[in-house]
Protein backbone atom coordinates (compact mmCIF):
# COMPACT_ATOMS: atom_id res chain seq x y z
CA UNK A 1 0.00 0.00 0.00
CA UNK A 2 1.31 3.43 -0.91
CA UNK A 3 1.16 6.21 1.62
CA UNK A 4 -0.74 9.42 0.98
CA UNK A 5 1.46 12.50 0.63
CA UNK A 6 -1.26 15.14 0.44
CA UNK A 7 -4.78 14.66 1.68
CA UNK A 8 -7.42 17.34 1.38
CA UNK A 9 -10.79 16.54 2.87
CA UNK A 10 -14.04 18.48 2.69
CA UNK A 11 -12.22 21.77 2.16
CA UNK A 12 -14.33 24.90 1.71
CA UNK A 13 -12.68 28.28 1.25
CA UNK A 14 -13.96 31.75 0.43
CA UNK A 15 -12.72 35.27 -0.20
CA UNK A 16 -15.01 37.66 1.66
CA UNK A 17 -18.42 36.01 1.08
CA UNK A 18 -17.77 34.27 -2.25
CA UNK A 19 -17.00 30.53 -1.95
CA UNK A 20 -14.09 29.58 -4.21
CA UNK A 21 -13.62 25.96 -3.13
CA UNK A 22 -16.66 23.92 -2.18
CA UNK A 23 -16.26 20.70 -0.16
CA UNK A 24 -13.16 19.71 -2.07
CA UNK A 25 -11.53 16.31 -1.55
CA UNK A 26 -8.19 15.34 -2.98
CA UNK A 27 -5.55 12.69 -2.42
CA UNK A 28 -2.09 12.58 -3.87
CA UNK A 29 -0.20 9.33 -3.24
CA UNK A 30 3.43 9.56 -2.28
CA UNK A 31 5.58 9.67 -5.42
CA UNK A 32 2.85 10.95 -7.74
CA UNK A 33 3.42 13.51 -10.47
CA UNK A 34 0.01 15.13 -10.43
CA UNK A 35 -1.61 17.81 -12.56
CA UNK A 36 -4.34 20.09 -11.27
CA UNK A 37 -6.48 21.27 -14.17
CA UNK A 38 -9.51 23.52 -14.37
CA UNK A 39 -10.67 26.73 -16.03
CA UNK A 40 -9.56 30.21 -14.94
CA UNK A 41 -10.97 31.05 -11.56
CA UNK A 42 -11.60 27.37 -10.73
CA UNK A 43 -9.72 27.76 -7.46
CA UNK A 44 -6.48 25.97 -8.34
CA UNK A 45 -4.25 28.65 -6.85
CA UNK A 46 -6.54 28.88 -3.84
CA UNK A 47 -6.33 25.11 -3.29
CA UNK A 48 -2.52 25.25 -3.26
CA UNK A 49 -2.59 28.21 -0.91
CA UNK A 50 -5.00 26.39 1.38
CA UNK A 51 -2.69 23.39 1.52
CA UNK A 52 0.13 25.77 2.49
CA UNK A 53 -1.97 27.49 5.11
CA UNK A 54 -1.83 30.80 3.22
CA UNK A 55 -5.61 30.80 2.86
CA UNK A 56 -7.64 29.86 5.91
CA UNK A 57 -10.41 27.40 4.99
CA UNK A 58 -13.95 27.83 6.31
CA UNK A 59 -14.16 24.11 6.88
CA UNK A 60 -12.24 20.94 6.15
CA UNK A 61 -8.50 20.45 6.29
CA UNK A 62 -5.38 19.62 4.36
CA UNK A 63 -2.73 17.22 5.65
CA UNK A 64 0.79 16.51 4.47
CA UNK A 65 1.86 12.97 5.34
CA UNK A 66 -0.90 12.88 7.93
CA UNK A 67 -0.03 16.10 9.73
CA UNK A 68 -1.05 19.75 9.30
CA UNK A 69 1.23 21.97 7.25
CA UNK A 70 2.94 23.89 10.08
CA UNK A 71 4.44 20.62 11.37
CA UNK A 72 5.57 19.55 7.91
CA UNK A 73 6.72 22.69 6.19
CA UNK A 74 10.36 21.61 6.04
CA UNK A 75 9.17 18.78 3.78
CA UNK A 76 7.30 21.06 1.38
CA UNK A 77 8.48 23.49 -1.32
CA UNK A 78 6.28 26.04 -3.04
CA UNK A 79 6.63 27.56 -6.51
CA UNK A 80 4.26 30.54 -6.70
CA UNK A 81 2.73 31.89 -9.90
CA UNK A 82 5.45 33.96 -11.58
CA UNK A 83 3.25 37.03 -11.80
CA UNK A 84 2.83 37.13 -8.02
CA UNK A 85 6.05 39.10 -7.42
CA UNK A 86 7.61 42.33 -8.69
CA UNK A 87 10.55 41.30 -10.86
CA UNK A 88 12.00 44.80 -10.74
CA UNK A 89 13.00 44.09 -7.12
CA UNK A 90 16.69 44.97 -6.66
CA UNK A 91 18.23 41.54 -6.21
CA UNK A 92 20.19 38.95 -8.16
CA UNK A 93 19.22 35.50 -9.41
CA UNK A 94 21.55 33.85 -6.88
CA UNK A 95 19.98 35.85 -4.03
CA UNK A 96 16.49 34.74 -4.94
CA UNK A 97 17.51 31.08 -5.12
CA UNK A 98 19.22 31.34 -1.72
CA UNK A 99 15.87 32.46 -0.27
CA UNK A 100 14.93 28.79 -0.51
CA UNK A 101 17.32 28.17 2.39
CA UNK A 102 15.93 30.91 4.66
CA UNK A 103 13.48 28.55 6.34
CA UNK A 104 16.24 26.12 7.32
CA UNK A 105 18.61 28.94 8.34
CA UNK A 106 16.48 30.27 11.16
CA UNK A 107 16.42 33.72 12.72
CA UNK A 108 19.30 36.19 12.45
CA UNK A 109 21.59 33.87 10.48
CA UNK A 110 22.85 35.14 7.14
CA UNK A 111 23.19 32.84 4.14
CA UNK A 112 26.84 31.80 3.74
CA UNK A 113 28.99 29.70 1.45
CA UNK A 114 26.98 26.49 2.02
CA UNK A 115 23.79 28.25 0.90
CA UNK A 116 25.65 29.74 -2.03
CA UNK A 117 26.85 26.35 -3.17
CA UNK A 118 23.39 24.81 -2.84
CA UNK A 119 21.93 27.68 -4.85
CA UNK A 120 24.50 27.35 -7.63
CA UNK A 121 23.83 23.61 -7.72
CA UNK A 122 20.11 24.19 -8.17
CA UNK A 123 20.75 26.85 -10.82
CA UNK A 124 22.88 24.33 -12.65
CA UNK A 125 20.01 21.84 -12.63
CA UNK A 126 17.72 24.33 -14.34
CA UNK A 127 20.44 25.53 -16.71
CA UNK A 128 20.73 29.01 -15.24
CA UNK A 129 24.20 29.15 -13.61
CA UNK A 130 25.43 31.65 -16.17
CA UNK A 131 22.77 34.08 -14.99
CA UNK A 132 23.57 33.83 -11.26
CA UNK A 133 24.69 37.44 -10.86
CA UNK A 134 22.00 38.99 -13.07
CA UNK A 135 19.30 41.29 -11.77
CA UNK A 136 16.09 39.27 -11.86
CA UNK A 137 14.28 41.88 -13.94
CA UNK A 138 16.70 41.29 -16.81
CA UNK A 139 15.47 37.75 -17.45
CA UNK A 140 12.89 36.43 -19.87
CA UNK A 141 9.67 34.97 -18.50
CA UNK A 142 10.87 31.42 -18.93
CA UNK A 143 14.16 32.20 -17.20
CA UNK A 144 12.31 33.78 -14.28
CA UNK A 145 10.21 30.64 -14.04
CA UNK A 146 13.36 28.53 -13.84
CA UNK A 147 14.73 30.75 -11.07
CA UNK A 148 11.60 30.06 -9.03
CA UNK A 149 12.02 26.37 -9.74
CA UNK A 150 15.63 26.47 -8.55
CA UNK A 151 14.53 28.25 -5.38
CA UNK A 152 12.16 25.36 -4.64
CA UNK A 153 14.80 22.74 -5.50
CA UNK A 154 17.21 24.26 -3.02
CA UNK A 155 14.69 23.58 -0.24
CA UNK A 156 15.36 19.89 -0.64
CA UNK A 157 11.74 19.01 0.02
CA UNK A 158 9.69 15.85 -0.41
CA UNK A 159 6.51 17.52 -1.63
CA UNK A 160 6.50 20.20 -4.33
CA UNK A 161 3.53 22.47 -5.00
CA UNK A 162 3.89 24.39 -8.26
CA UNK A 163 1.51 27.02 -9.57
CA UNK A 164 1.69 27.14 -13.38
CA UNK A 165 5.42 26.50 -13.80
CA UNK A 166 4.95 26.29 -17.58
CA UNK A 167 3.38 29.71 -17.96
CA UNK A 168 5.17 31.72 -20.64
CA UNK A 169 7.81 29.06 -21.21
CA UNK A 170 8.93 27.95 -24.68
CA UNK A 171 8.65 24.34 -25.87
CA UNK A 172 12.30 23.47 -25.20
CA UNK A 173 12.22 24.83 -21.68
CA UNK A 174 8.91 23.11 -21.03
CA UNK A 175 10.42 19.74 -21.97
CA UNK A 176 13.42 20.42 -19.76
CA UNK A 177 11.20 21.33 -16.81
CA UNK A 178 9.11 18.21 -17.35
CA UNK A 179 12.26 16.13 -17.31
CA UNK A 180 13.21 17.78 -14.04
CA UNK A 181 9.80 16.98 -12.55
CA UNK A 182 10.10 13.37 -13.66
CA UNK A 183 13.53 13.23 -12.08
CA UNK A 184 11.99 14.44 -8.81
CA UNK A 185 9.37 11.72 -9.06
CA UNK A 186 12.00 9.07 -9.64
CA UNK A 187 13.61 10.23 -6.38
CA UNK A 188 10.32 9.42 -4.67
CA UNK A 189 9.14 13.01 -4.34
CA UNK A 190 5.53 14.05 -4.77
CA UNK A 191 4.91 16.85 -7.26
CA UNK A 192 1.66 18.79 -7.67
CA UNK A 193 1.49 21.04 -10.72
CA UNK A 194 -1.22 23.50 -11.76
CA UNK A 195 -1.37 22.96 -15.50
CA UNK A 196 -3.32 24.56 -18.33
CA UNK A 197 -2.44 22.59 -21.45
CA UNK A 198 -4.85 19.65 -21.52
CA UNK A 199 -3.14 18.13 -24.56
CA UNK A 200 0.03 17.35 -22.62
CA UNK A 201 -1.58 16.02 -19.43
CA UNK A 202 -1.41 12.32 -20.41
CA UNK A 203 2.17 12.71 -21.60
CA UNK A 204 3.60 14.59 -18.63
CA UNK A 205 1.62 13.37 -15.63
CA UNK A 206 0.50 10.11 -14.07
CA UNK A 207 -2.15 11.55 -11.76
CA UNK A 208 -4.66 14.30 -12.35
CA UNK A 209 -7.12 16.33 -10.34
CA UNK A 210 -9.93 18.10 -12.17
CA UNK A 211 -11.25 21.09 -10.31
CA UNK A 212 -13.93 23.66 -10.84
CA UNK A 213 -14.86 25.03 -7.43
CA UNK A 214 -15.89 21.45 -6.64
CA UNK A 215 -13.58 18.53 -7.10
CA UNK A 216 -14.77 16.84 -10.31
CA UNK A 217 -12.36 13.93 -10.33
CA UNK A 218 -9.04 12.88 -8.88
CA UNK A 219 -7.09 9.77 -9.78
CA UNK A 220 -4.70 8.15 -12.27
CA UNK A 221 -4.73 9.92 -15.64
CA UNK A 222 -5.62 6.68 -17.45
CA UNK A 223 -8.77 6.30 -15.34
CA UNK A 224 -10.23 9.74 -14.82
CA UNK A 225 -8.90 11.95 -17.64
CA UNK A 226 -11.82 11.34 -20.01
CA UNK A 227 -14.24 13.42 -22.01
CA UNK A 228 -17.06 13.11 -19.53
CA UNK A 229 -15.00 14.53 -16.65
CA UNK A 230 -13.50 17.23 -18.88
CA UNK A 231 -16.99 18.33 -19.86
CA UNK A 232 -18.00 18.46 -16.22
CA UNK A 233 -14.91 20.58 -15.48
CA UNK A 234 -14.91 22.96 -18.43
CA UNK A 235 -18.57 22.97 -19.46
CA UNK A 236 -18.97 23.38 -23.21
CA UNK A 237 -15.56 24.95 -23.61
CA UNK A 238 -13.65 21.86 -24.72
CA UNK A 239 -14.88 21.60 -28.28
CA UNK A 240 -11.30 21.49 -29.55
CA UNK A 241 -10.85 18.09 -28.00
CA UNK A 242 -13.73 16.57 -29.94
CA UNK A 243 -13.04 14.43 -32.99
CA UNK A 244 -9.83 12.74 -32.04
CA UNK A 245 -10.84 12.61 -28.37
CA UNK A 246 -8.54 13.19 -25.50
CA UNK A 247 -6.48 10.11 -26.09
CA UNK A 248 -5.97 11.03 -29.71
CA UNK A 249 -3.15 13.30 -28.78
CA UNK A 250 -1.34 10.40 -27.23
CA UNK A 251 -1.67 8.12 -30.21
CA UNK A 252 -0.41 10.70 -32.63
CA UNK A 253 2.84 12.61 -32.54
CA UNK A 254 5.04 12.01 -29.55
CA UNK A 255 8.12 14.05 -28.91
CA UNK A 256 11.40 12.21 -28.82
CA UNK A 257 12.31 10.91 -25.39
CA UNK A 258 15.86 12.20 -25.63
CA UNK A 259 14.99 15.81 -24.99
CA UNK A 260 17.41 18.61 -25.74
CA UNK A 261 19.27 19.90 -22.73
CA UNK A 262 18.52 23.37 -21.46
Amino acid sequence: MTTTAIEVSDLTAAYKDKPVLWHVDMQAPSGALMAIVGPNGAGKTTLIKAILGLVRPLSGRALIYGKPYPQQRHRVAYVPQRSSVDWDFPTSVLDVVMMGRYGALGWFKRPGSAERRAALDALDKVGMVDFAERQIGQLSGGQQQRVFLARALVQNAEVYLMDEPFQGVDATTERAIVRLLQELRSLGKTVLVVHHDLQTVPEYFDWVMMLNVRSIACGPVSEVFNEQNLRATYGGKIAFLNGNGVGGVQDGYRPALSQPAL
Binding site: G53, Y78, P80, P90, M99, Y102, R110
Partner: protein, 305 residues
Amino acid sequence: MDIGQLFHNLLFDYTLRTVALGAAVIGIVSGALGAFAVLRRQSLLGDAISHAALPGIVIAFLLTRSREPTIVLLGALAAGWAATLSITAIVRTTRIKDDSALGLVLSVFFGFGLMLLTFAQKLSDARQAGLDKFLFGQAATLLQRDVVTMATVGALALGTTLLFWKEFKLLTFDADYAASLGHPVRALDVLLTTLLVIAIVIGLQTVGVVLMSAMLVAPAAAARQWTNRLETMVGLSGLFGALAGVSGALISSAMEKTPTGPVIVLCISAIVLVSLLFAPARGLVWKRLRNFRNQRRIHTAPLQL
Protein backbone atom coordinates in the same frame (compact mmCIF):
# COMPACT_ATOMS: atom_id res chain seq x y z
CA MET B 1 28.70 83.94 4.15
CA ASP B 2 31.44 82.05 2.33
CA ILE B 3 31.89 78.32 2.32
CA GLY B 4 34.80 78.33 4.76
CA GLN B 5 32.77 80.31 7.25
CA LEU B 6 29.87 77.89 6.82
CA PHE B 7 32.07 74.91 7.60
CA HIS B 8 33.52 76.70 10.58
CA ASN B 9 30.01 77.34 11.88
CA LEU B 10 28.99 73.80 11.15
CA LEU B 11 31.65 72.56 13.55
CA PHE B 12 31.57 75.26 16.23
CA ASP B 13 28.17 76.93 16.07
CA TYR B 14 25.84 75.15 18.50
CA THR B 15 22.61 75.74 16.58
CA LEU B 16 24.00 74.91 13.19
CA ARG B 17 25.76 71.77 14.42
CA THR B 18 22.62 70.57 16.16
CA VAL B 19 20.47 71.25 13.12
CA ALA B 20 22.88 69.50 10.77
CA LEU B 21 23.21 66.44 13.00
CA GLY B 22 19.45 66.23 13.48
CA ALA B 23 18.77 66.47 9.78
CA ALA B 24 21.41 63.84 9.04
CA VAL B 25 19.77 61.42 11.49
CA ILE B 26 16.37 62.02 9.91
CA GLY B 27 17.75 61.55 6.42
CA ILE B 28 19.51 58.27 7.18
CA VAL B 29 16.61 56.68 9.06
CA SER B 30 13.81 57.79 6.75
CA GLY B 31 15.90 57.06 3.67
CA ALA B 32 16.74 53.51 4.75
CA LEU B 33 13.24 52.57 5.91
CA GLY B 34 11.64 54.49 3.07
CA ALA B 35 13.45 52.14 0.67
CA PHE B 36 11.48 49.21 2.11
CA ALA B 37 8.25 51.23 2.00
CA VAL B 38 8.75 52.08 -1.66
CA LEU B 39 9.59 48.48 -2.59
CA ARG B 40 6.49 47.32 -0.74
CA ARG B 41 4.43 49.94 -2.59
CA GLN B 42 3.61 51.69 0.65
CA SER B 43 4.61 55.24 -0.29
CA LEU B 44 1.05 56.41 0.24
CA LEU B 45 0.95 54.71 3.62
CA GLY B 46 3.91 56.85 4.68
CA ASP B 47 2.04 59.95 3.59
CA ALA B 48 -1.08 58.92 5.50
CA ILE B 49 0.89 58.12 8.65
CA SER B 50 2.74 61.43 8.70
CA HIS B 51 -0.40 63.51 8.13
CA ALA B 52 -2.22 61.44 10.71
CA ALA B 53 0.43 62.26 13.30
CA LEU B 54 -0.81 65.85 13.61
CA PRO B 55 -3.78 65.21 15.90
CA GLY B 56 -1.53 63.00 18.02
CA ILE B 57 0.94 65.83 18.48
CA VAL B 58 -1.74 68.35 19.44
CA ILE B 59 -3.57 65.97 21.77
CA ALA B 60 -0.31 65.06 23.50
CA PHE B 61 0.30 68.75 24.09
CA LEU B 62 -3.25 69.49 25.26
CA LEU B 63 -3.09 66.63 27.75
CA THR B 64 0.32 67.40 29.21
CA ARG B 65 0.83 71.09 28.34
CA SER B 66 4.44 70.32 27.56
CA ARG B 67 6.30 70.16 24.30
CA GLU B 68 8.99 67.78 25.50
CA PRO B 69 10.05 65.98 22.32
CA THR B 70 9.53 62.57 23.89
CA ILE B 71 5.93 63.41 24.75
CA VAL B 72 5.23 64.93 21.36
CA LEU B 73 6.85 61.97 19.63
CA LEU B 74 4.79 59.52 21.68
CA GLY B 75 1.64 61.37 20.65
CA ALA B 76 2.66 61.23 17.01
CA LEU B 77 3.58 57.57 17.33
CA ALA B 78 0.20 56.68 18.82
CA ALA B 79 -1.69 58.59 16.13
CA GLY B 80 0.42 57.09 13.34
CA TRP B 81 -0.28 53.65 14.71
CA ALA B 82 -3.99 54.36 15.05
CA ALA B 83 -4.03 55.48 11.42
CA THR B 84 -2.33 52.27 10.24
CA LEU B 85 -4.75 50.14 12.23
CA SER B 86 -7.74 52.08 10.85
CA ILE B 87 -6.56 51.51 7.28
CA THR B 88 -6.15 47.77 7.87
CA ALA B 89 -9.54 47.57 9.57
CA ILE B 90 -11.30 49.45 6.75
CA VAL B 91 -9.76 47.23 4.06
CA ARG B 92 -10.60 44.04 5.97
CA THR B 93 -14.17 44.79 6.89
CA THR B 94 -15.54 46.91 4.05
CA ARG B 95 -15.41 46.87 0.26
CA ILE B 96 -13.30 50.04 0.20
CA LYS B 97 -9.98 49.41 -1.61
CA ASP B 98 -6.71 50.19 0.13
CA ASP B 99 -5.84 53.36 -1.81
CA SER B 100 -9.23 54.87 -0.99
CA ALA B 101 -8.87 53.75 2.63
CA LEU B 102 -5.49 55.51 2.78
CA GLY B 103 -6.94 58.72 1.36
CA LEU B 104 -9.88 58.55 3.73
CA VAL B 105 -7.77 58.04 6.84
CA LEU B 106 -5.27 60.70 5.76
CA SER B 107 -7.90 63.40 5.28
CA VAL B 108 -9.96 62.53 8.34
CA PHE B 109 -6.95 62.45 10.69
CA PHE B 110 -5.30 65.52 9.15
CA GLY B 111 -8.53 67.51 9.12
CA PHE B 112 -9.13 66.62 12.74
CA GLY B 113 -5.55 67.61 13.52
CA LEU B 114 -5.94 71.01 11.85
CA MET B 115 -9.15 71.62 13.81
CA LEU B 116 -7.45 70.75 17.09
CA LEU B 117 -4.52 72.95 16.14
CA THR B 118 -6.78 75.96 15.50
CA PHE B 119 -8.39 75.34 18.87
CA ALA B 120 -5.04 74.95 20.65
CA GLN B 121 -3.63 78.11 19.05
CA LYS B 122 -6.16 80.11 21.05
CA LEU B 123 -4.42 79.04 24.26
CA SER B 124 -1.46 81.32 24.88
CA ASP B 125 0.99 78.65 26.02
CA ALA B 126 0.24 76.69 22.87
CA ARG B 127 1.23 79.57 20.65
CA GLN B 128 4.51 79.70 22.52
CA ALA B 129 5.00 75.98 22.08
CA GLY B 130 4.96 76.58 18.34
CA LEU B 131 2.76 73.63 17.49
CA ASP B 132 2.04 75.10 14.08
CA LYS B 133 5.73 74.59 13.25
CA PHE B 134 4.92 70.90 12.95
CA LEU B 135 3.11 71.57 9.68
CA PHE B 136 6.21 72.46 7.65
CA GLY B 137 8.93 71.84 10.22
CA GLN B 138 11.42 74.19 11.83
CA ALA B 139 14.93 72.90 12.23
CA ALA B 140 16.02 75.89 14.30
CA THR B 141 13.84 74.67 17.18
CA LEU B 142 15.93 71.50 17.55
CA LEU B 143 17.90 71.20 20.77
CA GLN B 144 20.89 68.96 21.33
CA ARG B 145 18.71 66.89 23.64
CA ASP B 146 16.19 66.35 20.86
CA VAL B 147 18.92 65.20 18.52
CA VAL B 148 20.21 62.72 21.08
CA THR B 149 16.70 61.28 21.46
CA MET B 150 16.25 61.12 17.70
CA ALA B 151 19.62 59.45 17.19
CA THR B 152 18.97 56.85 19.90
CA VAL B 153 15.55 55.94 18.56
CA GLY B 154 16.84 56.00 14.99
CA ALA B 155 19.77 53.74 15.83
CA LEU B 156 17.39 51.27 17.46
CA ALA B 157 15.20 51.28 14.35
CA LEU B 158 18.15 50.76 12.02
CA GLY B 159 19.60 48.06 14.29
CA THR B 160 16.32 46.19 14.21
CA THR B 161 16.26 46.45 10.44
CA LEU B 162 19.73 44.92 10.22
CA LEU B 163 18.81 42.18 12.67
CA PHE B 164 15.78 41.14 10.62
CA TRP B 165 17.40 41.93 7.26
CA LYS B 166 16.90 38.56 5.65
CA GLU B 167 13.30 38.29 6.85
CA PHE B 168 12.41 41.83 5.74
CA LYS B 169 13.98 41.22 2.36
CA LEU B 170 11.95 38.08 1.76
CA LEU B 171 8.77 39.68 3.14
CA THR B 172 9.20 42.58 0.73
CA PHE B 173 9.95 40.43 -2.30
CA ASP B 174 7.53 37.53 -1.84
CA ALA B 175 5.36 37.50 1.29
CA ASP B 176 3.45 34.33 0.39
CA TYR B 177 6.65 32.39 -0.08
CA ALA B 178 7.95 33.76 3.23
CA ALA B 179 4.81 32.48 4.91
CA SER B 180 5.22 29.07 3.27
CA LEU B 181 8.69 28.87 4.82
CA GLY B 182 7.12 29.46 8.22
CA HIS B 183 8.03 33.13 8.67
CA PRO B 184 5.46 34.93 10.82
CA VAL B 185 4.63 37.42 8.06
CA ARG B 186 1.90 39.22 10.00
CA ALA B 187 4.26 39.98 12.87
CA LEU B 188 7.10 40.95 10.52
CA ASP B 189 4.73 43.22 8.61
CA VAL B 190 3.66 44.93 11.84
CA LEU B 191 7.30 45.28 12.92
CA LEU B 192 8.43 46.81 9.62
CA THR B 193 5.46 49.19 9.56
CA THR B 194 6.21 50.21 13.16
CA LEU B 195 9.78 51.01 12.15
CA LEU B 196 8.37 53.11 9.31
CA VAL B 197 6.16 54.99 11.75
CA ILE B 198 9.20 55.61 13.97
CA ALA B 199 11.20 56.92 11.01
CA ILE B 200 8.38 59.32 10.20
CA VAL B 201 7.90 60.51 13.76
CA ILE B 202 11.61 61.28 14.18
CA GLY B 203 11.45 63.73 11.28
CA LEU B 204 8.21 65.54 12.07
CA GLN B 205 9.70 68.40 14.09
CA THR B 206 12.24 69.24 11.40
CA VAL B 207 10.48 68.39 8.15
CA GLY B 208 6.84 68.71 9.19
CA VAL B 209 3.83 66.44 8.72
CA VAL B 210 2.95 67.75 5.27
CA LEU B 211 6.20 66.92 3.48
CA MET B 212 7.61 64.09 5.61
CA SER B 213 6.53 61.41 3.12
CA ALA B 214 8.89 62.93 0.55
CA MET B 215 11.75 61.97 2.87
CA LEU B 216 10.63 58.34 2.60
CA VAL B 217 9.93 58.14 -1.10
CA ALA B 218 12.43 60.46 -2.80
CA PRO B 219 15.74 59.07 -1.46
CA ALA B 220 14.60 55.53 -2.29
CA ALA B 221 13.52 56.50 -5.80
CA ALA B 222 16.90 58.16 -6.39
CA ALA B 223 18.86 55.23 -4.91
CA ARG B 224 17.02 52.66 -7.04
CA GLN B 225 18.46 54.36 -10.14
CA TRP B 226 22.03 53.60 -9.16
CA THR B 227 21.98 49.94 -8.10
CA ASN B 228 20.41 46.54 -8.52
CA ARG B 229 21.16 45.33 -5.01
CA LEU B 230 18.89 45.83 -2.02
CA GLU B 231 21.84 46.33 0.35
CA THR B 232 23.31 49.12 -1.77
CA MET B 233 19.91 50.65 -2.39
CA VAL B 234 19.07 50.95 1.30
CA GLY B 235 22.54 52.34 2.08
CA LEU B 236 22.47 54.87 -0.75
CA SER B 237 18.95 55.88 0.13
CA GLY B 238 20.05 56.70 3.69
CA LEU B 239 23.04 58.60 2.34
CA PHE B 240 20.93 60.66 -0.07
CA GLY B 241 18.45 61.37 2.72
CA ALA B 242 21.23 62.59 5.02
CA LEU B 243 22.75 64.73 2.26
CA ALA B 244 19.42 66.39 1.51
CA GLY B 245 18.64 66.77 5.21
CA VAL B 246 21.92 68.47 6.07
CA SER B 247 22.02 70.78 3.07
CA GLY B 248 18.35 71.67 3.43
CA ALA B 249 18.64 72.39 7.13
CA LEU B 250 21.76 74.53 6.59
CA ILE B 251 20.20 76.54 3.78
CA SER B 252 16.99 77.17 5.67
CA SER B 253 18.79 78.18 8.85
CA ALA B 254 20.90 80.64 6.87
CA MET B 255 17.70 82.32 5.69
CA GLU B 256 15.39 84.01 8.17
CA LYS B 257 11.99 82.45 8.85
CA THR B 258 12.21 79.75 6.21
CA PRO B 259 10.38 76.56 7.16
CA THR B 260 12.81 73.65 6.87
CA GLY B 261 10.58 71.03 5.31
CA PRO B 262 10.18 72.61 1.88
CA VAL B 263 13.90 73.39 1.56
CA ILE B 264 14.91 69.81 2.44
CA VAL B 265 12.37 68.50 -0.04
CA LEU B 266 13.81 70.76 -2.73
CA CYS B 267 17.27 69.34 -2.02
CA ILE B 268 16.13 65.73 -2.22
CA SER B 269 14.20 66.54 -5.39
CA ALA B 270 17.41 67.80 -6.96
CA ILE B 271 19.08 64.49 -6.07
CA VAL B 272 16.18 62.58 -7.60
CA LEU B 273 16.38 64.64 -10.77
CA VAL B 274 20.11 64.07 -11.18
CA SER B 275 19.63 60.33 -10.53
CA LEU B 276 16.79 60.02 -13.03
CA LEU B 277 18.85 61.74 -15.68
CA PHE B 278 22.41 60.59 -15.12
CA ALA B 279 22.49 57.28 -13.25
CA PRO B 280 24.33 54.68 -15.34
CA ALA B 281 22.15 52.03 -16.99
CA ARG B 282 18.83 53.50 -15.81
CA GLY B 283 19.50 57.21 -16.40
CA LEU B 284 17.44 58.84 -19.16
CA VAL B 285 20.40 60.67 -20.68
CA TRP B 286 22.48 57.52 -21.15
CA LYS B 287 19.46 55.61 -22.42
CA ARG B 288 18.81 58.25 -25.07
CA LEU B 289 22.46 58.33 -26.01
CA ARG B 290 22.59 54.55 -26.35
CA ASN B 291 19.45 54.52 -28.49
CA PHE B 292 20.89 57.23 -30.70
CA ARG B 293 24.17 55.36 -31.18
CA ASN B 294 22.44 52.07 -31.88
CA GLN B 295 20.20 53.68 -34.43
CA ARG B 296 23.13 55.23 -36.20
CA ARG B 297 24.95 51.94 -36.22
CA ILE B 298 21.96 50.17 -37.70
CA HIS B 299 21.50 52.87 -40.35
CA THR B 300 25.13 53.11 -41.39
CA ALA B 301 26.19 49.48 -41.12
CA PRO B 302 25.88 47.48 -44.32
CA LEU B 303 23.08 44.99 -44.03
CA GLN B 304 24.54 41.61 -43.18
CA LEU B 305 22.55 38.52 -43.96
